[in-house]
Symmetry: C2
């Protein structure tokens, strides 16, 4: 992921001028990882076919916001949560970061033949509890069953409907030089918890998924910063690094992250170092990145820290002018490197 | 599926008084078939967990109707359609039969690693074409990828949002004795086309899926019958027989079907006879069942026949008082038999 700045400058023209094209001959795990291949699939195939312009987390239908997500996480239960809880929080969070108060969810289950009733019951209960905690109703649903082996216990698709909050003037293309970048908590916990839960590594650390609903955090940010809040994203697949790259591209700005200021739980930092992964690329399921105009940034950060579960919120960087479309990291030693888009899929099926 | 009337009478008290309970130890293909096991899963587990009362095709959120469906049809292409087209029509039809004009869809794809880009592109194009034909926009989406073998090419989940039509006063519990029962076209084509497309039977017949959007048919029915239109259903999984059983239960009425009046394409009738299946239990993807008050039934039928694709619409039976919760068939020979809820899954993964 490290590149020289010469290489960076060579990329700028491409980044600014050309949308990504989908040229692959077949689907790989990387197309589901939330990085460059996913963006290629979306920008190069799906968005043009459906006439969708802006790659936001939710779309407006009248005064409502709508978003959808499928969940295929493996294993379905892990420290700190389960697929059902994730399916609720992931979707209400896409609404929240779009500035919409979550109202209702639909739920569609693809179940594997042979799934035990107890496992299904546990997830149905997890969904009901998470929906209650997030203040949303489950209003419609569907269930399909496929033969043993044609699914992995269950896949869950939720669609969220929320009401756009009049305080919110959020857009991925609204970032301006000088804007401050906040994260609502330590990064990388969800993806690391999943990797460890699979038991493929001889590594035992007490790391739990950060899965939680984020509307209270967005609500607090909107109260504190109003229309000085430029954009909010939940840093799921591809982690904080992917969010920053998407927004740098969408706004045509540079983003500089001060590595030393990014909160990372020591156990996550240790596990990621052993696994050879940068926690900035690891998925979160209850952590947002917010961009605020400079005059509102301190109030926004204070508001965020007052929300339960966001006490460790931090300012981690700033929006700059050059080089547009790029994300740079200032290391603790004063060096700079490019934090590029995620390539490949180091952490498959984490959500 | 045949039962004596003695047996019927013995069932009545149970049907009227007790909701179905989910007692199975594991999920079987039957839970996805749209018959009794599916109803058990919904009534016995999902609906109580989420506090959902009425088993309608779509739920109201303010003035909007919302519905969701996952599609796992195998093979993904078949005579007359494909999974992408089905995913659009199936969901807009759930809105339509709820009396809501379809406005927007969300789309979530679970893709199998190794799926060819050409197959994906073909389905994306099919989705775009079907959405245009149905007059809906695709407003949001998601893509996940799972390892080879953990899916079957692709599973597609669509959620539909529509605007409730003020003319519509539809409810599954509104059926009254004397109401007439209409179908919008020949029954059993979709499921039969899928079974033949699998090539598991040495049977070659020119049968195409009936997949198509049904809002024009519902619109015509509402124009002709207004609030004399009691309820409309698209007869998907479990076919017309399952719709009739659900509504007989929901309204506490009996339903009598005159078998000789049910339109069935001769090739479908022939194929079903060889396969040993009753076409009344076979899925349709562009055929509705409508219940109209007696005074409005003739106008409703005439209106339905004027809609392109519904020229073969027919009146097939009537709502009665006794025995409540049951569906009876009058055969061409003057006999009567019970048309019970579907048990098991004779036609897996047809949508």
């Amino acid at each position: 992921m490290e590149r020289t700045e010469d290489h960076v400058l060579g990329l700028i023209e491409r980044v600014k001028s050309k949308p990504l094209r989908f040229r692959d001959e077949q689907i790989t795990m990387a197309h589901g990882a939330g990085g460059k291949a996913t963006l290629t699939l979306i920008e190069g195939l799906l968005a043009p076919a459906f006439g969708i312009d802006e790659l936001a987390d939710a779309a407006a239908v009248g005064e409502l916001a709508v978003t959808t997500d499928s969940f295929v996480v493996r294993p379905i239960r892990f420290p700190g949560g389960s697929i059902g809880e994730l399916a609720v929080n992931g979707t209400v969070n896409d609404l929240a970061v779009s500035g919409a108060r979550p109202l209702a969810l639909t739920l569609s289950l693809v179940l594997e033949e042979g799934l035990s009733a107890d496992e299904l019951r546990a997830e149905v209960e997890a969904i009901a509890r998470a929906a209650e905690a997030a203040g949303v109703r489950i209003v419609a649903g569907d269930t399909k069953v496929v033969e043993r082996g044609r699914c992995d216990s269950m896949y869950v698709t939720t669609t969220g409907i929320g009401r756009l909050d009049p305080r919110a003037q959020l857009s991925p293309s609204s970032l301006r030089p000088g804007d401050r970048i906040l994260v609502s908590g330590p990064v990388g916990e969800h993806g690391t918890a999943i990797m460890l839960a699979r038991g493929e590594f001889e590594l035992d650390a007490a790391i739990e998924s950060d899965t939680k609903p984020l509307w209270p955090a967005v609500d607090a940010l909107l109260d504190a910063a109003g229309d000085s809040l430029r954009c909010v994203r939940d840093a799921t697949r591809g982690g904080v690094a992917s969010v920053l790259n998407e927004l740098a591209r969408a706004s045509g700005v540079a983003i500089v992250v001060r590595e030393a200021q990014v909160p990372v739980h020591p156990a996550v930092a240790g596990a990621c170092e052993i696994l050879g992964i940068d926690p900035m690329y690891v998925a979160n399921e209850g952590t947002l990145v917010a961009f605020a105009a400079p005059e509102a940034a301190d109030d926004a950060l204070a508001a965020l820290r007052s929300v339960a579960g966001c006490e460790a919120a931090a300012e981690i960087g700033e929006v700059k002018t050059e080089p547009p479309g790029m994300v740079l990291v200032e290391t603790g030693f004063g060096g700079r490197r490019v934090m590029d888009m995620l390539v490949g899929d180091p952490l498959p099926r984490i959500c």
